[in-house]
């Protein structure tokens, strides 16, 4: 069946990806977008019935940008749910820990929601792939200087603040686009060229003790780990959900793992 919509810009065929992309500029409401939404909705239900697609749970710990992450996954056609329910984390095939906010507040919330045991079981025992984003990655460390709190302790690392005296031009937070130097081969970085630019917004960064966990490095006065990988545990300091094509590729890689 052809799906044709006529707009001011002319007649468009939903099945031509290139054409759809270039004309989206002119038309606020597109057929492919709706199809994606329907697909995501029914795809998810299908998933519940058949378990054929990975069940991705974005953990909502009452801080953070769960919605932006979900929208990015929607765009990739990957069904996901945002949840703070223990049961959903337990049943998840893949877990995303999004992140914006304060370290201690986030840990307190995870604890109050009763999610710590469920997360530890899913990640450390069942070895489900987990992706921490920004604060979500920092939470995987042992401790943080932000609020002097203990983290999930999945990585032998601590979270420290950027020193304001880095250089006159380098401000804290590190906010903007910067390059990732890829340090090891990883499924998370498939199709991502070395020195790709991604979006950062953070005042704290990881200091890792086990160099084998290092996936990418980024320079900002000092060199800090901008992505880490340890078995099924992945973390990125940048915001892939806000990093255009490269960010989408990283999320796609995580989904397809």
């Amino acid at each position: 069946m052809h799906i044709v919509q006529t707009t001011n810009a002319g007649t468009r065929f939903a099945s031509i990806p290139g054409a759809e992309r270039s004309k989206r500029i002119n038309s606020p409401d597109t057929v492919p977008r709706r199809l994606t939404a329907i697909w995501a909705k029914w795809g998810f239900r299908l998933d519940l019935a058949t378990r054929s697609l990975p069940r991705v749970v974005i953990v909502d710990y009452r801080t953070g940008n769960s919605n932006s992450v979900k929208r990015s996954l929607d765009r990739l056609g990957c069904p996901s749910i945002i949840s703070s329910q223990i049961q959903d984390v337990t049943q998840a095939d893949k877990i995303v820990l999004p992140g914006v906010g304060h370290f201690r507040t986030a840990m307190v919330n995870l604890s109050e929601l009763g999610l710590l045991d469920a997360l530890n079981e899913a990640v450390l025992i069942k070895r489900k792939p987990v992706l921490g984003i920004c604060l979500g990655m920092e939470l995987m460390a042992m401790t943080s200087e932000e609020g002097n709190a203990h983290g999930l302790q999945w990585l032998d690392a601590k979270v420290v603040r950027f020193k304001p005296s880095l250089a006159p031009r380098l401000k804290v937070p590190h906010m903007g686009w910067n390059r990732m130097r890829i340090k090891k081969v990883s499924p998370l970085m498939k199709g991502v060229e070395d020195l790709s630019e991604v979006y950062f917004a953070h005042s704290y960064h990881l200091e890792i003790n086990d160099r084998s966990d290092l996936l990418t490095e980024t320079d900002y006065g000092i060199s800090f780990p901008s992505a880490v990988e340890r078995n099924n545990i992945f973390g990125v300091q940048c915001h892939p959900e806000k990093s255009h094509r490269i960010g989408a590729q990283v999320l796609k890689n995580f989904i397809e793992m």
Partner: protein, 251 residues
């Protein structure tokens, strides 16, 4: 290598995209969500949306609108307009924005900035400092869409906001707004040298060279503009545009 962000600032009035000159004479440009789509295609670094009427009308920027931007935007975006409670910030972030921009609420109650950064983290809180001279040439930070002066000089206000935990400052020259004559480099540099948080230059950019100038000589970390990205040229028609990486050299 770190590179400065280039940030289109889009003004909203009754949910329409407008552009002002010196905070007056608002011209209608078009539909804002359409602009987001175009900036997606052009690969913009970041967007800022400001509802310029919200504080004066004592209301919050439309959350439905923020949500609509969030649905569409593949880049980070900040939102300002009538944000004055922690609940407002929570609602705007939940609707999909990365950061909130505070102006009136920060000028009226610096303690609110402190409470907000404690709750949401510094990287979420941006303070926009609107700068204009008063009658006898004394520069002040202004609030309520540039309609009321505070008792703070721009520099003192910037330092105070840093102490309160703001994660970023947008320094906007009201006198240069929409003129496309270039940034107020002295103002931007004086603040950038005095604080350790990122400073975004706004007001007056008319050419790509102005962006480079604010980075090299103003030590700005973000380079924001309105007219430059929405007009073909000064006095010409509306054309949403964004510089290509190769056209700008920050080395």
């Amino acid at each position: 290598m770190f590179r400065p962000r280039i940030i289109p600032v889009l003004l909203l009035k009754d949910l329409a995209l407008v552009k002002s000159v010196q905070f007056r004479n608002h011209k209608y440009l078009g539909e804002p969500i359409n602009a987001v789509r175009i900036f997606n295609e052009l690969g913009a670094d970041e967007l800022v949306f400001l509802d310029i009427a919200a504080s004066r009308k004592n209301r919050l920027i439309s959350l439905d609108f923020v949500k609509a931007v969030g649905e569409e935007s593949q880049m980070p975006f900040s939102v300002g307009g009538g944000i004055k409670t922690l609940g407002d910030i929570n609602a705007v972030i939940a609707a999909g924005a990365e950061k909130v921009v505070l102006n009136t609420s920060a000028g009226c109650d610096p303690g609110f900035v402190k409470a907000a950064s404690d709750e949401f983290g510094s990287s979420t809180i941006v303070v926009c400092i609107d700068v204009k001279k008063k009658l006898f040439g004394v520069e002040r930070a202004w609030i309520l869409g540039g309609s009321r002066a505070t008792r703070f000089s721009p520099l003192d206000f910037a330092k105070l906001m840093e102490d309160c935990g703001a994660g970023e400052l947008i320094i906007q020259s009201i006198e240069r707004d929409g003129t496309m004559k270039g940034y107020d480099i002295d103002l931007i540099r004086s603040i950038s040298e005095a604080v350790s948080i990122p400073v975004v230059a706004l007001g007056g950019a008319g050419r790509n060279e102005d962006l480079v100038d604010a980075y090299r000589n103003g030590y700005a970390n973000g380079l924001a503009a309105g007219s430059l990205f929405v007009y073909q040229d000064k006095g010409k028609g509306v054309l949403i545009n964004y510089p290509e990486r190769k056209d700008l050299s920050f080395e």
